[in-house]
C-alpha cells in the first residue's frame, strides 16, 4: 500500500476507537444511490515501472534541438546550485506560511525576492508572485480600475498577443472597455497610444521589449498618462531589465513580467512565475501574498504575511483578487538564481543574449530575400521578413532539427511572412550558422 503506514492490527484498533466495525462503515453517509457508476482506472504500478513508463514518454519529446523560439519564454543558463537549493524539502514540502514562526525560511526568502525584483525594476513594492506574466497583467489592470474608478484600458497591440487573449477572457464578464492601439510595423505607436488616453482611462498597458523584441523608452507616454490621472502598466522581461532603462525610471506605476527567464525550466509552459510590482501609493491594491518585516517580543527581526485585510480569506467577495496561492517555489528559484549570478552575472547573461542576436541578424539577413521587419533597436529577439510564409519555413527547418522561431502571422494579420527569432546565452554561434544555412536552403 504505497505511502500508507497502517498495519492490519492498527487499523482494527483504530476502527475500535472510532466505534465502527469496518472501513466501509466510515462512508455510510454517502447513500448507495450516489456511489460511483464506475471507477475504471488502471492497476497501480511499482515506482520503477512508473519511472520506466515516464522515461519512455519523455523520450517521445525531442529536446536536443537548436531552438530560436522565444515569444515571451526564454531558456537561460541556470547554475546547478539553484536546483540543489530549491530541492531542499524544507522549502518544497511546506505550505503557504500561515504560521509565521514555523515558516521564517519561506517568509524571509519571499521578502528578499520582493526586494530583488523591486531593485531590478526600480519599483517600491512587490508581491510574493502571481501565477504567470499574463495573470499579472490582468491583476494590474484590475488594480488600475479599482484605484482610478475608471473602466477604460488602452492596450498596445505590441503587447504579447498571448496575454491580450488572456485579458479578453478574464475580463469577458466585467464592465471594462479595452482599446487596442495598432502597432507600427513591429514598434509601439507611442503617439497613438498617448492620443488614446483620456479622462476615462484607467491605464495604458505596454511591454518592453515589446512582442517583436523592440526596445522602447515609454517615459513620455507615462507622463501623458500621469497628466490624465491614468496609470502606466508595463510588462518587462526581467533578464534584460538588468541592462535596459528601468520601468521605474520611466515612470511606470505598475510593473509586471514573466519571471520564467530567471532560471526556471521551460517545462512545456509551467509552472512559471508572475512578477508584480508597484509604487508605494498602490500597495493596498496589490493582490496576492506580501511578506513584511516585523519583530518578535524580544525585538528579534522576523517576517509575516501582511496587509491581509485585502485578501479573499478575510474580504471574501470584496477582496482585491481571488488569488490565494502564489508561485512561491518558483519565486524562490528566481531569487536564488539572481543571488547566484549577482548583478554582474545577470547583465552578462543579458548582453550575451543580445550579442548572439546581432550575430544571428547578420547571418540571416545575408540570406537572399531575408530582411529586418524594421530598423528599431532590439534586445535578444528580432523580426525578419521572408519571401515565403514563415510557418512553411519553420516546418522546413524543423526537418533539419532547428526550431527557427515564431511565425508572427499566427497572431498578426498581414505578417504571415514574418518570423520572430530569439537567442539566449545558451545558443551557440554554430547553431546560428546552422539556422542560416537551413534558411538559405529552405528559400
Amino acid at each position: 500500500m504505497p505511502y500508507i503506514p497502517h498495519t492490519t492490527d492498527q487499523v482494527r484498533r483504530m476502527l475500535d476507537v472510532v466505534g465502527v466495525d469496518s472501513m466501509e462503515a466510515l462512508f455510510e453517509n454517502i447513500p448507495a444511490s450516489m456511489r460511483p457508476k464506475s471507477f475504471d482506472l488502471p492497476e497501480g504500478l511499482s515506482e520503477d515501472a512508473v519511472l520506466n513508463k515516464l522515461s519512455a514518454i519523455a523520450d517521445m519529446n525531442e529536446t536536443g534541438k537548436a531552438s530560436f523560439l522565444g515569444a515571451g519564454f526564454y531558456d537561460h543558463f541556470q547554475p546547478r546550485a539553484v536546483r540543489a537549493l530549491v530541492s531542499r524539502s524544507e522549502f518544497y514540502t511546506a505550505y503557504t506560511p500561515y504560521q509565521a514562526e514555523a515558516s521564517q525560511g519561506t517568509l524571509q526568502a519571499i521578502f528578499e525576492f520582493q526586494t530583488a525584483i523591486c531593485r531590478l525594476f526600480e519599483m517600491d513594492c512587490a508581491n510574493a508572485s502571481a501565477y504567470d506574466g499574463g495573470t499579472a497583467i490582468f491583476e494590474a489592470c484590475m488594480m488600475a480600475i479599482r484605484k482610478t474608478k475608471r473602466s477604460k484600458i488602452i492596450i498596445d497591440e505590441a503587447l504579447s498577443p498571448i496575454y491580450r487573449r488572456m485579458l479578453d477572457t478574464m475580463t469577458s464578464s466585467l464592465d471594462i472597455e479595452a482599446v487596442i492601439v495598432p502597432h507600427a510595423n513591429g514598434t509601439s505607436d507611442k503617439a497613438a497610444l498617448a492620443a488614446a488616453i483620456d479622462k476615462d482611462t484607467a491605464a495604458v498597458v505596454v511591454q518592453n521589449p515589446n512582442f517583436f523584441g523592440v526596445v522602447e523608452d515609454f517615459s513620455d507616454l507615462a507622463a501623458v498618462a500621469r497628466e490624465n490621472k491614468a496609470l502606466t502598466i508595463m510588462s518587462v522581461y526581467p533578464v534584460l531589465a538588468s541592462v535596459l532603462k528601468t520601468p521605474g525610471s520611466m515612470g511606470a506605476d505598475i510593473v509586471v513580467g514573466e519571471g520564467q527567464s530567471l532560471g526556471l525550466p521551460l517545462s512545456f509552459g509551467g509552472p512559471y512565475l508572475g512578477l508584480m510590482t508597484c509604487t508605494k501609493a498602490l500597495v493596498r491594491q496589490l493582490p496576492g501574498r506580501i511578506a513584511g518585516r516585523t519583530e518578535d517580543k524580544q525585538g528579534r527581526t522576523g517576517y509575516v504575511l501582511t496587509l491581509q485585510a485585502r485578501e479573499q480569506h478575510i474580504r471574501r467577495a470584496k477582496a482585491t483578487s481571488n488569488i490565494c496561492s502564489n508561485q512561491a517555489l518558483c519565486a524562490l528559484m528566481a531569487h536564488v538564481q539572481m543571488c547566484m549570478l549577482g548583478p554582474v552575472g545577470l547583465r552578462r547573461q543579458a548582453v550575451l543574449s543580445m550579442e548572439l542576436a546581432r550575430y544571428a541578424q547578420a547571418r540571416l539577413t545575408a540570406v537572399h530575400g531575408v530582411e529586418m521587419l524594421n530598423d528599431a533597436p532590439y534586445g535578444n529577439e528580432f523580426a525578419i521578413t521572408l519571401p515565403l510564409p514563415a510557418d512553411k519555413v519553420v516546418a522546413a527547418l524543423a526537418q533539419q532539427g532547428v526550431a527557427a522561431g515564431f511565425p508572427l502571422g499566427r497572431y498578426y494579420k498581414g505578417l504571415e511572412n514574418a518570423l520572430l527569432v530569439a537567442t539566449t546565452d545558451k545558443n551557440t554561434a554554430e547553431q546560428i550558422d546552422r539556422l542560416a544555412a537551413g534558411l538559405k536552403e529552405a528559400l
Partner: protein, 484 residues
C-alpha cells in the same frame, strides 16, 4: 538572521556565465540603457548555498513535521515524482513547439501526458472533459465561474447571482465576484446546507451554487440529492470545489450526482508539493453540456498523433498563456499511475480513518461541535479554553513548540475559536497519538499555567511576531526598512 543583501560584499561574484565580447552600449543607444547594474547581492556560490541552507532550517515542511492543516491536505509527497519532472525530455521543452507545423512532432510525449491525465481525471470524478490550464485552485474557480457565465449567456439566461454557503472557502465568493456575479450567502444549519434555507435564496437570477462536499466542517452534505433537484428547477448550475476531493476517491463521483463544473487541487489530492505557497494546479472538469465552452487550446488524439486544437467557436478563450502548470500535472500523473484504482480508493479510506481516530482521541478535551462520523477532516472549538484566556491561536502556537505544524485556525468562520484538523492518510497511528498527547498536554497546561501557552512558541527561531506592527510599518523590502 541577516538577509542576503546584508551579506553582500561589493565585488564578489558567484557563478558567472561566459563573458560577452560586446558591451550593451555598443548595441543599443545609451538613452535606452540603465546607467547602473541592479542592486542584487554580490556573493560567492558558497555564500549563497549557506544562506539558503540556513533559511531552509527555519521552515517546517511535511518531510520534517506533521502538518495537519485543515483543508490543505498536506500529505507526503513521493520523491520519485521530482525525478520525473526533472527529466530533460520534460523540463527542457519549449511550449510553443506544440503549436507549430513540423515541431509539433517533438512534443508528443508531453501532449500524451496531458491527454491521459485528462482521461484519468474524467474517470475519477465522472466528468465529461477537463482543461488542465488553471494554474491554481482559485484560478480553477475563476475559470469555472467564467464557464458558468458563458453557459447562461449561450442559453440566453439572465443570471446575476452565485450562491456560496457561509462555510465556503473565501476564494469561492471572490472568484464569483471576479466573474461579475453578485454573491449570495446561504447559512448552514447544523453544519450543512439545508434545502429550506437554500430555497429561500434561490430564484431565477441564480446562475450557480458553489459547494464543497464534504464541506469545510468535514461533513458530507446529507441533502445533496435534493439540492441538485432544486437547482435544476431554476436552470442553475452546480459547482464543486474540489479542495476536499481527498475524502471521496472511489466513493463518490461528483459527475454522477449532477455537478456541472468541478475544480481539483492537484497539489492536494494528488500529492504534488506546494512549495511554501505554490505552484499548484487547478484543472477544471465539466459535464457534457459545457464541454464546448472549455478554454483553448485542447489536446486531441488523431491517427497521426496528438494535436492542440483551437477551433472551438464557443470556447471562453485563453485563461492561461499555455497549457497550465505542466510540471505539476506531470507529478500528479505519475502519482495516479503509481497508486492506481485501489491505491486511490485507499487514500480516502485511510484519510477518513485517520481523521475519525484523531477526532475520537480529542473528544472530551476540546469541544467538537459536530461530533459524528466525519470525512477526511474535522473541526474542533477552543471556545471553552478561550473563556480562560487561551485562544485557538495560542494552542496553534504551542503545537509548533512540540514540533507539529498547527491545524488551520479561525476557519471556517462559522465556528467560534475554530481548530480544523486534517491528518491525511500518510500519517501513522504513532504520529496521530503523539499529536493527540501533545495537544492534551497543552490543554491541561492551559488550565494550570495559561501564561505558558499564550507565550508560545519559545523554541523556534523567533517568538510570536507582531503582525500589527508589520501592517502599520509596511516594511516590504530591504529598501523600505527605516523609511516607514
Amino acid at each position: 538572521m541577516k538577509t542576503v543583501f546584508e551579506k553582500s560584499v561589493p565585488g564578489r561574484t558567484g557563478c558567472l556565465p561566459r563573458r560577452p565580447v560586446e558591451t550593451a552600449d555598443r548595441m543599443l543607444p545609451e538613452a535606452l540603457l540603465r546607467p547602473e547594474a541592479p542592486g542584487l547581492p554580490e556573493l560567492s556560490e558558497l555564500d549563497v548555498v549557506r544562506h539558503f541552507t540556513e533559511l531552509s532550517g527555519r521552515n517546517f515542511g511535511v518531510d520534517s513535521n506533521f502538518y495537519p492543516l485543515g483543508s490543505c491536505t498536506m500529505k507526503y509527497n513521493p520523491k520519485f515524482t521530482e525525478e520525473v519532472a526533472a527529466m530533460a525530455g520534460f523540463a527542457g521543452l519549449h511550449p510553443i513547439l506544440a503549436q507549430l507545423e513540423g515541431t509539433r512532432e517533438w512534443v508528443q510525449g508531453s501532449l500524451k501526458v496531458m491527454h491521459e491525465t485528462e482521461a484519468l481525471l474524467c474517470e475519477i470524478t465522472g466528468m465529461s472533459a477537463y482543461t488542465l490550464h488553471p494554474m491554481a485552485g482559485a484560478h480553477g474557480e475563476l475559470t469555472g465561474a467564467l464557464l458558468i457565465a458563458a453557459y447562461h449567456k449561450k442559453q440566453g439566461n439572465k443570471k446575476t447571482k452565485v450562491i456560496c454557503p457561509d462555510s465556503a472557502h473565501g476564494t469561492n465568493p471572490a472568484s464569483a465576484a471576479l466573474a461579475g456575479y453578485k454573491v449570495v450567502n446561504v447559512e448552514s444549519k447544523d453544519g450543512v446546507i439545508s434545502p429550506e434555507a437554500l430555497a429561500e435564496v434561490l430564484d431565477d437570477e441564480v446562475a450557480a451554487l458553489m459547494m464543497t462536499c464534504p464541506n469545510t466542517l468535514g461533513l458530507f452534505e446529507p441533502h445533496l440529492e435534493e439540492i441538485v433537484k432544486l437547482l435544476r428547477e431554476k436552470d442553475a448550475l452546480l459547482y464543486y470545489d474540489g479542495a476536499n476531493l481527498n475524502a471521496i476517491l472511489g466513493k463518490l463521483r461528483v459527475g454522477d450526482v449532477g455537478f456541472d463544473v468541478v475544480h481539483l487541487n492537484l497539489h492536494k489530492t494528488f500529492g504534488t508539493p506546494h512549495g511554501g505557497g505554490g505552484p499548484g494546479s487547478g484543472p477544471v472538469g465539466v459535464s457534457e453540456r459545457l464541454v464546448d465552452l472549455l478554454p483553448i487550446s485542447r489536446v486531441v488524439k488523431e491517427d497521426d498523433g496528438y494535436h492542440l486544437r483551437y477551433d472551438y467557436p464557443d470556447s471562453i478563450g485563453y485563461i492561461a498563456p499555455l497549457y497550465g502548470n505542466f510540471g505539476v500535472v506531470l507529478k500528479a500523473y505519475a502519482y495516479m499511475l503509481r497508486l492506481g484504482r485501489e491505491g486511490l480508493e485507499r487514500v480516502s479510506e485511510y484519510a477518513v480513518l485517520n481523521a475519525n481516530y484523531l477526532r475520537k482521541r480529542l473528544e472530551g478535551v476540546l469541544e467538537i461541535p459536530f461530533d459524528r462520523i466525519c470525512m477526511h477532516e474535522f473541526v474542533a472549538s477552543a471556545a471553552s479554553q478561550a473563556k480562560n484566556g487561551v485562544h485557538a491561536l495560542d494552542i496553534a502556537k504551542a503545537l509548533l513548540d512540540k514540533g507539529h505544524h498547527a491545524p488551520t485556525v479561525y476557519f471556517p468562520l462559522i465556528v467560534k475559536e475554530c481548530i480544523m484538523v486534517e491528518p491525511t492518510e500518510t500519517e501513522s497511528m504513532e504520529t496521530l497519538d503523539a499529536f493527540a498527547d501533545d495537544l492534551i498536554e497543552i490543554l491541561t497546561r492551559a488550565e494550570s499555567d495559561p501564561d505558558s501557552v499564550t507565550a508560545a512558541p519559545v523554541l523556534l527561531p523567533v517568538e510570536r511576531l507582531d503582525e500589527t506592527k508589520a501592517a502599520r510599518g509596511m516594511v516590504l523590502t530591504e529598501d523600505l526598512a527605516g523609511k516607514a
